[in-house]
């Protein structure tokens, strides 16, 4: 009998809760936590979700196990049909895509994400790039952001490197304010921008003016830890909640679906060891 779950499983459950039933939802590549969250949502509260798999663009696949890379035939086994690249992005541009998940090596207080470069225009560290994230951040109705590296670490020179920062060096994926401080809602994009941010420390939403706001913590994390590890002063919800654990059946599904523990590749070693009671 399973009586504890891992941080990865807590995060997957928190991410899954941001998905509504009967909406068209898409995940990108390089994001096993999101792949798992979508399959969890479809098997629990969102059975009518239209699940579009990243890279293969298969519709409602039922893969036998999670693979180390996204464009693998394993991942579209059981799909009832498949889109091509232009159809997927057309769905977003025409307002059919309900939710997408995005991340960044920098995430700012307005939910902008940088996956392109640290340092700009002079490149200090070239990041891999955001795929279609830039387009989708503007076009998709709602965004859930996530990161597994909220906790600030020291770089080679001993400086603390924040993942959640005041402003991004380069805006790859659009949040609620542009690089020059304008409200993005005035740009006339289809999407309403970031709605949630799930990290390994807590859960944020975004206030009416688009600023990031702390909403909930994991049971083993204090408010001080959040504030110490955030590169700006986040707003605080009037009541900070505790993130609930997943149901036992969800934990068991995750372990069956990801026997190679692919999702742990997204997590730091100290976070893989964290355990939470689900009793």
């Amino acid at each position: 009998m399973t009586i504890t779950c891992s941080l990865g499983e807590m995060m997957i459950a928190a991410l899954a809760r941001t998905i509504e039933d009967a909406t068209l939802v898409f995940h990108g590549f390089g994001s096993p936590l999101i792949q798992l969250a979508m399959h969890v949502a479809k098997r629990t509260h969102a059975p009518r979700m239209v699940l579009v798999a990243g890279a293969t663009y298969g519709i409602d696949p039922d893969p036998p196990f999670l693979t180390p890379t996204t464009n693998d035939w394993v991942m579209d086994r059981g799909a009832t049909s498949a889109l091509d690249i232009e159809e997927l992005f057309d769905l977003a541009a025409s307002g059919r895509l309900g939710r997408m998940f995005l991340s960044g090596l920098q995430i700012d207080r307005w939910g902008n994400c940088n996956v392109t470069t640290l340092g700009y225009p002079d490149i200090k560290l070239k990041l891999p790039g955001g795929g279609g994230g830039c387009n989708l951040s503007c076009d998709v109705a709602h965004l859930t952001l996530w990161t597994t590296a909220h906790r600030a670490q020291e770089d080679a020179e001993g400086r603390r490197r924040f993942r959640l920062i005041e402003g991004c060096d380069f805006i790859t994926n659009l949040g609620h304010r542009t690089w020059d401080g304008k409200r993005t809602r005035d740009l006339g994009h289809r999407g309403y921008g970031p709605q949630w941010l799930v990290t390994e420390l807590g859960l944020f939403d975004f206030a009416n003016d688009g600023h990031m706001r702390l909403k909930a913590l994991y049971p083993d994390i204090s408010l001080d830890e959040i504030l110490e590890n955030t590169g700006f002063k986040p707003r605080l919800a009037s009541e900070i909640e505790i993130i609930p654990p997943p149901e036992q059946s969800v934990v068991e599904f995750i372990r069956r679906f990801d026997p190679l523990k692919i999702h742990e590749k997204e997590l730091r070693a100290e976070d893989i060891r964290r355990r939470f009671s689900i009793a």
């Binding site: 036998p64 891999p128 790039g129 659009l174 190679l260 590749k265």
Partner: protein, 319 residues
């Protein structure tokens, strides 16, 4: 530009050697590399291009990995306009790509998937640009000063205009083709059909060249022969990326590649390029160097079922 008329390739027999295909790519070309991430990338053709010493290429594309990383290491690129280059959660960032872009030897012209789709669609339709809503408000506008804004004359809303991209050469690896250059792609086509229609020259390697009649019986997406300039039969031509149903992603070889790349440019040259690219003058030499029949057998075991498939991706399978 996109207003130029584009050639039609009508020859009955376009079969050529791999090196002949590579010779169509000239210094300074804009190339569109097919496939994506760990799947169906035209790796044998890229290795042949590197052996020729071709340089100054600009790569356009969506989400890629080892293909663009290898071109960076081999000195073929001067700019990358890919939307992503990396090894996803499996190995992380692309070491050769990072070195090349951080040192400035390859210029960062990053793009986004839908922007690329719209730019290719403009070329396909013979139009100078396509409009779109997204991207406005992001830093891509400063990276790409060629983008323009306009007020829609019908609705009054502001739109972004992105210019046509007409690649000089598309490099595609498909499962099947015939002598005339008809292609069948099975599984996700990624941007390959767009690349084939938008590019001036289309070079295709295929796992098998089959009679045209057999091609018609295969399930998959077809690319008509008149887009295709030349075709070459290159079994395992996408290795170490996947080309199902023939073989999956070779995670063990990719780990070897990544380990050499991580150690630095000189180590990568000695431990990878000199052995698997410059040290393998023919594709058959490459196949021998990656382990020959034993490797092929290991990879085809994916078709024995999910348990065998899973085994190929276990960490202990890397040793």
């Amino acid at each position: 530009m996109s207003t130029r008329s584009r050639p039609v390739y009508a020859d009955f027999d376009k079969r050529k050697s791999l090196d002949d295909l590579a010779s169509f790519v000239t210094d300074g070309d804009i190339i569109a590399v097919g496939g994506g991430l760990s799947s169906r990338e035209p790796m044998a053709l890229l290795r042949a291009i590197l052996r020729r010493g071709t340089s100054g290429l600009t790569a356009v594309g969506s989400a890629h990995g080892i293909d663009i990383d290898l071109l960076c290491a081999g000195g073929a690129l001067s700019a990358s306009a890919e939307s992503y280059v990396g090894f996803e959660q499996d190995f992380g960032q692309a070491p050769n790509y990072r070195r090349a872009l951080e040192s400035g030897t390859v210029k960062a012209e990053d793009s986004c998937c839908y922007t690329l789709v719209q730019q290719l669609r403009a070329a396909i339709q013979g139009l100078p640009f396509m409009p779109m809503r997204s991207v406005r408000g992001t830093s891509f506008l400063s990276l790409h000063p060629e983008y323009r804004r306009m007020v829609c004359p019908f609705t009054g809303e502001e739109l972004l205009l992105v210019p046509a991209i007409e690649p000089d050469v598309a490099l595609i690896h498909a499962q099947y083709g015939d002598a005339r250059g008809n292609l069948v792609i099975q599984g996700p086509p990624v941007a390959d059909t767009l690349f084939a229609k938008a590019s001036r020259v289309v070079l295709a390697t295929v796992e098998e060249i089959v009679p045209t009649q057999r091609l018609g019986e295969l399930v998959g997406i077809s690319i008509p022969y008149f887009y295709v300039t030349a075709v070459s039969e290159v079994p395992m031509g996408a290795h170490p990326t996947a080309c199902y149903p023939f073989y999956p992603y070779d995670r063990a070889h990719t780990a070897l590649y990544y380990e050499a790349a991580r150690k630095g440019a000189d180590v990568f040259h000695a431990e990878y390029l000199d052995i698997f690219v410059h040290g393998a003058a023919e594709h058959t030499n490459y196949l021998a160097r990656i382990g020959g029949e034993a490797t092929r057998k290991r990879l085809v075991s994916w078709s024995d079922g999910p348990e065998a498939w899973k085994l190929l991706y276990r960490d202990e399978a890397m040793a």
